[in-house]
Symmetry: C2
Subunit: 472 residues, 2 copies
């Protein structure tokens, strides 16, 4: 890896897209429309030129003709033309190139493999950074470098994402944005013939804007180097690893998807854990755990105070958190004394889990109960259920109810010294639940769509900080 050049590719001032076309919806040029720097097109097909002109983008017939230095290139030409463009990139002194084009080793054909080998050889001899092929390359939202037209720009966050799959890179950014997760830099690297997962991990480990790293990996090329790098990185920041291809069927898909050799899931699992990384199993878990890291205060232990808005949910919230390995202990004597002074136990209960049925409509009561729990020494984290079918009967009459509730919960979170999360039981109000999730996260309060997902995320964060404490 040529680190200085890769830095230019991740933080370019000038970008060129080679071979974008109408048939592809000009997806690359449109994605780059938010880029703060200069974007050029390189296209020789005269039929494509009017479309590119309509986008307001200057076109050249060769990279070499662009009248300034180019930091980052996206290559979207037919596979047989790729080597010539890469050669132009090298001559032009480009920082790095994303090869969007597919049709290489992942086709399991002689032709594809030969083309990929030629590409790798050329790049390695010239110490040139190829991202891909068969990938979506870089997403740097702060400066508007995108690989999908639906992605945000102009705002950024502390989360780095490294993904062998373009789909998962894009989905993480889109679903993440709905969950208050903003990206520093993300990269989809496909077949990874020159730069592989380890190179990107090394890069984001050093990146000052990146405080937490998520990875979607199908297979790595240099196992020992990867594990060493992973161990080094987890000492500085949390790393969450989602390994695709755990089953035989997954292996088969991988060999067709990115041409990687996948290794046994059991070996992966133990390796990843030994390196201090956190294993997740799918996109939802990745989103949940990253959100928990970003928005939860570090839990000091595994005890939770569980607050449900009905008796039925008090049973299943307890089940979910216990099954995730957390405990809902009996509370302290002073807490019970305080609850006994006002808590209505007819149709409710305050043992832990709490069923606050009769108090739930009152925001004051709810906050009072949370305040009491937050000072109980037996409790490390607090979880509150919001049941929308139940609360909707209030907001039908008081339209400002939700905003008042959300503000009160945001204020509580700010002053609560313990980790605090919400579980939204949406019932049929699924659209409303999305709106409330958004309002909550805007106030810094993380919410989860069911008890199981909340419990897993809290367990992950709790374990992480416990192991940090152990190693101190």
């Amino acid at each position: 890896m040529n680190k200085g050049a890769l830095d230019r590719a991740f933080n370019p001032r000038c970008v060129a897209v080679v071979g974008d076309k109408m048939g592809n919806g000009y997806v690359w040029l449109r994605s780059m429309s938010t880029f703060r720097g200069k974007v050029y097109s390189v296209q020789i097909d005269p039929q494509e030129l009017p479309g590119i002109e309509r986008l307001g983008i200057e076109n050249y017939s060769s990279l070499l003709e662009i009248p300034e230095s180019v930091d980052y290139v996206v290559v979207a030409v037919p596979r047989s033309v790729v080597p010539r463009i890469v050669s132009d990139c090298i001559r032009k002194g480009v920082g790095g190139a994303t090869i969007f084009t597919s049709g290489f080793a992942e086709t399991n054909t002689r032709e594809g493999k030969d083309l990929e080998d030629a590409l790798a050889k050329m790049a390695k001899e010239a110490d040139f950074n190829i991202i891909g092929p068969n990938c979506m390359g870089i997403f740097n939202p702060k400066i508007g470098i995108r690989h999908d037209v639906n992605q945000y720009h102009g705002e950024a966050g502390p989360v780095g994402f490294i993904s062998q799959s373009g789909t998962h890179a894009i989905l993480f950014s889109l679903v993440g944005a709905c969950n208050g997760i903003r990206i520093s830099k993300s990269v989809s690297y496909g077949n990874g013939v020159v730069l592989d997962s380890t190179d990107y991990l090394e890069y984001l480990a050093q990146d000052q804007e990146t405080e937490i790293i998520g990875m979607y990996i199908e297979g790595v090329k240099e196992g020992t180097r990867f594990l060493h790098c992973l161990s080094e990185t987890t000492r500085k920041k949390p790393v969450l690893v989602w390994k695709g291809g755990k089953a035989e069927e997954g292996y088969r898909a991988i060999s067709c998807h990115t041409g990687s050799m996948a290794s046994s899931p059991t070996i992966w699992r133990s390796m990843i854990r030994q390196c201090g990384a956190i294993e997740v199993d799918n996109l939802d878990q990745m989103i949940d755990c990253v959100k928990a890291f970003l928005y939860l205060k570090a839990p000091l232990g595994s005890s939770v105070g569980l607050v449900a808005q009905s008796g039925g949910q008090s049973v299943v919230i307890a089940d979910a958190f216990a099954q995730a390995g957390l405990t809902a202990p009996m509370l302290s004597r002073s807490t019970y004394r305080e609850f006994a002074s006002f808590f209505n136990i007819i149709g409710g209960n305050y043992l832990n889990p709490l069923d606050i049925s009769w108090h739930a409509p009152s925001i004051d009561d709810s906050i009072r109960i949370l305040n009491i729990l937050s000072t109980d020494e037996n409790v490390d984290s607090l979880v509150l259920e919001l049941s929308l079918p139940f609360l909707s009967q209030i907001w039908d009459y008081y339209p400002s109810y939700v905003d008042t509730l959300v503000k009160a919960l945001g204020d509580f979170k700010d002053r609560c010294p313990k980790s605090f999360m919400i579980v939204i039981s949406s019932g049929q109000l699924e659209v409303e639940a999305l709106g409330i999730r958004k309002k909550l996260i805007d106030k810094g309060v993380p919410s989860f769509p069911n008890f199981e997902r909340a419990a897993k995320a809290l367990r992950t964060v709790t374990e992480y900080y416990r192991s940090c404490g152990d190693s101190d």
Copy 2:
């Protein structure tokens, strides 16, 4: 159980609500506003009378004054008054009464336990059907008997639901309605002091309108009778059991919620399986599995043909289904021959899982691929991913795209002899996903919000039909 009388309570022609009031939002009288028969109120507080009158409901100061026979009564009076009202019900010859009132054994107080014992004694001596106390009672949507104002009415379906918790009964009906699940009869029975889970199971086992039964149970009173009844019932229709209170914390919540004694989760699990029932762990799984039973053709085996709309998703769809115990086998030679004649493998793959990236925008291509898979003898079930971030780039230009796609998938499902399900990868388009789920289920096509949930539901249905085959 007095079966004839219980039949009257489940299918009443005349209903009375005792003690509903403004402070409770007249929730019972409002819920009953959809009832096709006659509803009376019984209320002696003069302050409540104008509100009841505004609802257009005739009020009496005693049950005994109502000038006709009453089949079903909801009792919402303070707990100390409950025995007197039950005594009136008995004198009046009511079919059954739901005691909504709480404050009995679940409070763990002497007073509450004594009241509950007195109630049980009175009812048993008179062979009177008490539903509850501390519950929401009956939901019979066809005739408009509801226990929540958000529930539907006028339409019904083949699903019976028995729930110790009112919240879970209501949530199942509301979330179920979003998922194409319609209820025949449902009951929330709380503390279950007179009629318990076994009685309701026996009742729904015989009910001709009920083809599948879901249960949320915290604990049963007569274990042997329950297991016998469960075994008998599963010979006639699928029974799904969700056991609340699997952890110590859950036990604690249960004793406060419905006053039940919960038994060890391991014992429960093995008992339930031996009886031929299906165990689910939460509301989502209950919904998913019931939906799968309602909308999937019986799979002949555990082989799946998996179709993803990108390479990254082809890897994780394979992982999810394999981890659920299903297999994605290599396809037959003739299938591969047919695919080879048109399938673009540059950026795609048809081994199984399939990555149909380049064909996905074409509805014709997608259906062609599904048709080929549906005739492959190696495949028992078909799963298709719809990736909304990807498809939205098409529907942005062709607004009728989604409807055309949904119609084509509905037509395919109708003629496909195998089980067929959709997984919607919503990305950021979460609201749109809900709309598409609705359109699909209206055409009889079940969809699931992620691969894991789809895989679990398919596995459950596959195992059920395999074990039916074994016992034939």
